[in-house]
């Protein structure tokens, strides 16, 4: 009985390369194609922001993203006493090229500030470090896209995921569906990707590492009390792995929406800038059937929400 009209679907997978982005893109395109529906794709897999490719992104608006302050050493104030090197627990400070002072390596710096505390000359300064950029794009495939790119060494954080999702929510307005391409793994960025989602789609790659990583994701989804369904991907390579994946999901009580076979045709579709919905053959049929099933779940959730009369406030 969630009175908000927006429906958020987060697509997640413990492991990279499981097909999460491709599946999320196909779902977003299928929803955007429904007359009257609006779909926003929030690409929170920032370390590999492939949503723009999957959806064939067009116009871009870009905004700088500031994670938090960076730290740097003013060369002319530095006496090379080395106290910052002692204080830095991340081995991020090196001698400068001319050996006269120290420099902080931004790709290794954890931005904790311990160096600033210990410098006797005040040579360490904080600066507003741009950690990356986020973009809003229209796409040839239909959905509006929000995504980000980070400077090397910068980490996806809960904050960045929230920034991307906030922008998506602003664009979504009334009665839209937001498809979130979650960060991989199970850390803070994933927590932020699943937070507040009405439905989580767990993509399970039918392999040893795929199943292992999906298991950990299932535990997180349960602890966050999110509704979840699963899609198996790359089936048909190993009957043993396919069976183990099914068993894992059944034991966890996660309904299976479909099984997508391993097929090079899926890759070929991406190369020509199309989503997985565009291919034929057995794989194409499975994709369409699975996406239809998931779409059905999302739309019925959305319909239930829109029918709720928001009660008057009692305060």
């Amino acid at each position: 009985m969630d009175g908000t009209s927006m429906t958020t679907v987060s697509v997640a997978s413990g492991k990279g390369g499981a097909g999460k982005t491709s599946i999320a893109a196909a779902l977003a395109v299928a929803i955007a194609a429904i007359p009257g529906e609006k779909c926003i794709f929030a690409d929170c897999d920032v370390d590999a922001a492939n949503g723009a490719i999957a959806l064939d992104a067009k116009e871009r608006e870009r905004f700088p993203y500031f994670a938090g302050p960076g730290f740097s050493i003013k060369a002319n104030a530095c006496t090379a006493c080395g106290r910052c090197v002692q204080a830095c627990r991340f081995d991020a400070i090196r001698k400068s090229a001319d050996r006269q002072s120290y420099v902080i390596v931004p790709q290794l710096c954890e931005r904790c500030g311990a160096c600033l505390d210990t410098c006797p000359k005040g040579a360490v300064t904080m600066y507003e470090k741009q950690a990356g950029e986020f973009y809003v794009a229209d796409t040839a495939r239909g959905p509006t896209l929000v995504f980000a790119e980070l400077e090397p060494g910068e980490d996806t954080s809960g904050k960045l995921v929230r920034v991307v999702r906030d922008r998506a929510e602003q664009l979504a307005g009334e009665a839209s569906v937001i498809v979130v391409d979650s960060a991989p793994g199970i850390g803070c960025p994933v927590i932020a990707s699943l937070s507040g989602a009405n439905l989580v789609i767990i993509v399970v790659e039918a392999s040893v590492s795929g199943i292992k990583d999906a298991r950990r994701l299932v535990a997180l989804v349960h602890s966050m009390k999110r509704k979840a369904i699963a899609i198996m991907n790359k089936t048909g390579l190993s009957a043993d792995m396919d069976s183990k994946a099914r068993i894992m999901l059944a034991e966890a009580g996660i309904p299976l929406a479909g099984e997508l076979p391993f097929d090079p045709a899926l890759r070929a579709a991406e190369e020509s800038g199309n989503t997985w919905l565009s291919i034929g053959g057995e794989a194409g049929d499975q994709v369409k059937a699975t996406i239809e099933a998931v779409k059905g779940v999302v739309l019925s959730m959305q319909r239930k929400k829109l029918n709720v009369v928001i009660p008057k406030e009692t305060l």
Partner: protein, 104 residues
């Protein structure tokens, strides 16, 4: 008893806890009610633990929210703040009425 609810629009329960834009704070001892901005919403890390600290500062005893992430849950537990689950989008008054035992 002081209650808190995450809210982004000031009228309905928000979807997230740690990065909620603000908190509705209600004190049933004097029926006072305020919406306080969540300063930690923009923190790069530790928004959940920061929000728990914020609520403790305000003397909140019960948090009414749709969910809390695992790290936030640990901080709330350490702070002795009880969590009651509600649904996002509910009117704040209704969400509170579900939880508050009529007093006196």
């Amino acid at each position: 008893m002081k209650y808190a609810l995450p809210t982004d629009d000031g009228k309905t329960v928000g979807k997230v806890f740690g990065r909620a834009k603000s908190f509705a704070l209600y004190n049933d001892a004097d029926s006072s009610y305020v919406i306080a901005a969540n300063e930690g919403a923009n923190a790069e890390h530790g928004a959940g633990t920061g929000a728990a600290a914020f609520l403790t500062e305000k003397g909140v005893g019960i948090l009414i929210a749709p969910e809390v992430g695992p790290k936030a849950a640990a901080a709330l537990s350490a702070a002795g703040i009880r969590v009651e689950i509600t649904e996002a989008g509910k009117a704040l008054g209704e969400a509170m009425a579900d939880v508050i035992v009529p007093s006196k």
